[in-house]
Subunit: 344 residues, 2 copies
């Protein structure tokens, strides 16, 4: 039968409208048998170790139709990326005791009925939490958006917004490995210092101290921007379009400044796409997971040789999860926001 355990879960109370507050979620303790129930062929039962707080989760909290991911179900635990340990498995690819990362529930234990978004943890020498970040979805996001969509060339200029976040800090470091000149923006002095002193950005600025994004970008890119890795949207995107170089590329990864608005800001200068022959392309990392082995081959040696670094902001305990997720949208986190639920 398996041991019956208490299972603390993060529940979505109701669909959210624009922004999310901690009170939109609640903690509930339910019971779970630590054994795959009969009739659940192909399932995996896991203990969750780390949960990943990602901006896209806000859209799943809304009642959306035709979105690329389904809305969460109110009164049920939310789901996301995490790192977990397999406690029981009826799936041939996964064995008890293995470590995995991928789609799981925001709870202490999860019965994953469809493990198609589970990957095995390949390298246990590196911090396990990295599989919510540099070695997981955000790492792949930075890799795909920067290398696959933007085809960077040595000497090109790169601008990254939300640059100290889970994805941005990697884009900047990847840009340096590609021989580019990279400037990042973030929302505090502490984050700007990280960009310049820890992640090796050529320059960085605090967007909250800039009255005029257009003027700021002209200062940092007097000859214009070849590649923009778009994480924020709105007015910043508008300023960037004014400052793109001919044949520039914009990888549209996210627009975090817009997700909490009732009405997103308008972008009024898209004619720059024509005059500057700019390509702007949106992407979803899950379309590109076939590149994961190639990505690991590149990134693991860079980490081990100390050529690339990763900063995490780890909240302790599942009780801290709602606050950690909400904090993403005010930029409270410094580095990748993770929730440590348990440590093996």
């Amino acid at each position: 039968m398996g041991e019956e355990m208490n299972n603390k879960q993060v529940i979505l109370n109701n669909y959210v409208k624009a922004s999310v507050k901690e009170s939109d979620m609640s903690l509930r303790t339910s019971k779970i048998q630590l054994k795959i129930p009969s009739g659940c062929d192909g399932a995996v039962l896991v203990k969750n170790l780390y949960l990943s707080c990602d901006p896209y989760m806000l859209s799943r909290m809304k009642k959306l139709e035709g979105h690329y991911v389904a809305s969460y179900t109110p009164d049920s635990p939310i789901t996301g990326y995490g790192v977990s340990k397999v406690l029981d498995s009826s799936h041939p690819n996964f064995k008890t005791g293995e470590l995995v990362w991928g789609g799981t529930g925001w709870e202490e234990y999860s019965l994953i009925k469809d493990p198609s978004l589970l990957f095995k943890v390949q390298d246990k020498d590196l911090p396990l939490s990295y599989y919510t970040g540099i070695l997981g979805m955000p790492g792949m996001t930075a890799y795909v958006g920067f290398f696959e969509l933007c085809s960077p060339k040595k000497g090109e200029t790169v601008y990254v917004s939300a640059a100290s976040g889970a994805v941005g800090q990697l884009v900047g470091q990847f840009a340096k490995t590609a021989g580019c000149y990279v400037v990042g923006s973030a929302g505090s002095k502490e984050k700007v210092d990280l960009l310049k002193n820890k992640f090796g950005f050529d320059d960085a600025f605090n967007y909250k101290e800039e009255q005029d994004y257009n003027a700021a970008l002209k200062r940092y890119f007097p000859d214009g921007i070849d590649i923009y890795f778009e994480n924020v949207g709105g007015k910043m995107l508008e300023a960037v379009l004014n400052n793109m170089k001919l044949f520039g590329r914009v990888a549209v990864c996210g627009m975090i400044s817009q997700y909490s608005l009732e009405q997103p800001e308008g972008v009024h200068n898209l004619s720059n796409l024509i005059t500057k022959r700019v390509r702007m392309e949106g992407f979803i990392v899950s379309d590109h997971y076939h590149l994961y082995p190639k990505f690991l081959e590149m990134v693991v040696p860079l980490i081990k040789e100390g050529k690339i670094t990763y900063v995490e902001d780890i909240a302790e305990g599942i009780e801290s999860a709602p606050g950690a997720l909400v904090g993403l949208f005010s930029g409270r986190n410094v580095g990748k926001q993770v929730v440590a639920v348990a440590r093996e």
Copy 2:
């Protein structure tokens, strides 16, 4: 010395601010020697036969910095594309009596000091005016934007705005040759009839009769749009983004609805680029003229076999040129707007 002739010219009086009126231009008669002056090596002297009215010309009438084309000079004749006959040449590639198309002045005779944007008329069996349209810059624009940027596949759905214009009518016909389903929009019943009955669009609508572009597009594309050939911008682009399919492509050719506005409309839903993995790419045809021979190889047989057709709106006489150009921005023209200055 060459004969001295009167030379009627279309003069830009002053930079325009937002929209253009006929009174922003005036006609002036100057004198010209029909011979290349000494010291003008590499120049070509032409008699202009047809002048092309193109939307991009409005931006050249404004005082813009860092634009892809230079602003016109007030109190001088404006320039554009045209079809001309060589009267004298000090350039090895062009001979007296030859017909050419490309960059020329809005006047009866032009001394073209830099003929790098002149092409020889290849096929004299077809109407000469076609070199301002289907066989010239607009033809290449339709070809490059549709085939090179959008890589259409058989069975895909294509939406073209400003679909009866110089470029749009061709995009629709190219889409049919590629086995696509194509719907166009235009601004009058007459134009919609042309789209359906002459150009073979699968369907068409009058955007001026639609209160809600979003609803209109849902009606014509219940399963969404794979390819959008963007000629208008603003609210229509916003509605299209809501109706794009996954992995859709937007070739951004022009935004004619925006050029005459003091402040362009905002596009508020660019996050569709992410959720739908849409690629949106601006282009300028002059970057792609190396493809012109390949284009002619495709399009000339299609015209001769009657598989593709072209509608022109020809204004007679250089005196009609300012009105013809201004008419573009209110959609007065039906088909490609040309000015016939002389007929050989």
